[in-house]
Amino acid sequence: MSRFLKIFLGVLTAIGGFVDIGDLVANAETGARFGLGLAWVVLVGVVGIVVYAEMAGRVAASSGRPVFDLVRERLGPRVALVNLLASFFINFLTLAAELAGVAIALSLLAGVSYVLLVPAVAFLVWVVVWRMSFGAIEHVFGIMGLALLVFVVALVHLSPDWTSMLHEATHPALPTEETPFTYAFFAIALFGAAMTPYEVFFFSSGAVEEGWTRRDLATNRLNVYVGFPLGGLLSLAIMAVASQVLRPAGISVGTLPQVVLPVAVVLGKVGLAVAILGVFAATFGAAIETGLSAGYTVAQYLGWQWGKFVRPRDAPRFHLVVLVSIVLGALFLLSGIDPIMVTEYSIVLSAAALPLTYFPILVIANDPEYMGTLTNGKVLNAIAMTYLCILTIVAVATVPLMIITKGGA
């Protein structure tokens, strides 16, 4: 494959792979409740994930080792264990939510309860993890996820008053029916959805699996600097469409099918089918990533042989963790728990645990022992430190806000 095509494919994958069930729900829900009053949070979140994903990719390319492996070595087993437990729990919730997302997307075509489809979806995800190559997984689901661009098409087709939308986004105001606490809670949910920790674990472990070296850094930067912001635009389009169609009708988003309803209203059957395909691809891709991330974090902490490229007989414990996580995620859903509640909890608790993921990356990215000459520059460190402060404030505020707003109700 030519270098240009590889880069192009990588950028497309980053755009399509940026959105998962957390982004879908959080963006549609905030659009329906707050209009574009929280659009600024998406921008803040995108800059944050760009800064830290680039750092994680650079750490992997210069040290040849993934983030979690280095966290244990650099910060010690006790701190790393806290990190592991928190990350694994949140990753598990996210995995369950993504499996539900796939099942719900299929149920919209089959017209049956999504619960009936959960076992088949879990099996399918495991088969793909087991059999499909790493590159194929990334590209197939990332590019299929581009179907979500239908939200951009729907927005353009709506011909909204762009000036008024821009004003709403740049002059955020609290809607009369909301409180400052719900505003802050949903800001945290959006931020958590944009900076979900599994994205970094998967990104850095994937870089190691694909054998990134310093020569791949340019590709890494292009993927991150171009792909993620364009993915962020996709998130904003979902929010804007919800604010144009659902908000005037007083609809608050409580289910995944409601997220694609505006596309049906604006673009009709074809648009709806494309949107459902996009939801399927986004959640399926993320289910694979979170399934693998479960294996990555545990195996890297415990020093086991790990990797999708490693034959299962050579890394049995890694593959077992992936399999057990998928099975437990499916069983969790079969208990009848509300998948949107699981999604909301996963993104909000992600926000609470963000410093645990990003602080070690910042420490390692400044250590010449691991990074050689590729340590962070002063400007990048200033931005990263600012973000670390934001992450800490968000982490401290999350649980009290969750209790005060009763989960954003």
């Binding site: 169609v245 009708a249 289910t255 099918p257 049906a264 009709g268 059957k269």
Partner: protein
């Protein structure tokens, strides 16, 4: 041991505090606030069904999708009615409010159930009932700011 008990108590308080959005109402004001939240959610569900059914009627959507949307809304409305009905009204004024909201929720649920039956039978749902119900819910919300 004591530390474990404190941690467990905190965890239980957290789960209870977050998972159940409708707690007890000790005053009329609190009860009215819960009624408002319930009616607002009901309106959201009825409007969702109205939009989905309208899209289907215009040929902008397909049956299985609409059936799932309508069933989800019906389940949600049933849950809202059950949850609101389980809250103890604190005084006589609250009794009247309870009847009023219960009637609204009942009408909403009837309209959505009828839509679900029609969609599952591939018949044309009665959108007028949904519009009427959504309008009644919106008017109630306007009257209880």
């Amino acid at each position: 041991m004591r530390r474990t008990v404190v941690l467990v108590a905190l965890a239980v308080a957290f789960v209870v505090g977050c998972a159940h959005p409708v707690g007890p109402a000790r005053t009329f004001g609190a009860y009215e606030g819960k009624a408002r939240t319930t009616v607002s959610s009901a309106r959201s569900n009825v409007e969702t069904v109205r939009l989905a059914v309208d899209a289907l009627a215009r040929g902008n959507s397909f049956g299985p999708y609409t059936a799932v949307v309508v069933s989800d809304a019906e389940d949600a409305l049933g849950g809202l009615q059950g949850t609101f009905g389980s809250i103890q009204p604190p005084d006589r004024r609250a009794d009247a409010l309870r009847r009023e909201v219960d009637d609204l929720l009942g009408d909403a649920l009837d309209g959505v159930s009828a839509a679900r039956i029609a969609v599952r039978r591939s018949e044309r749902p009665d959108t007028a009932a949904l519009v009427e119900s959504a309008s009644a819910l919106a008017q109630w919300l306007a009257a209880h700011p």
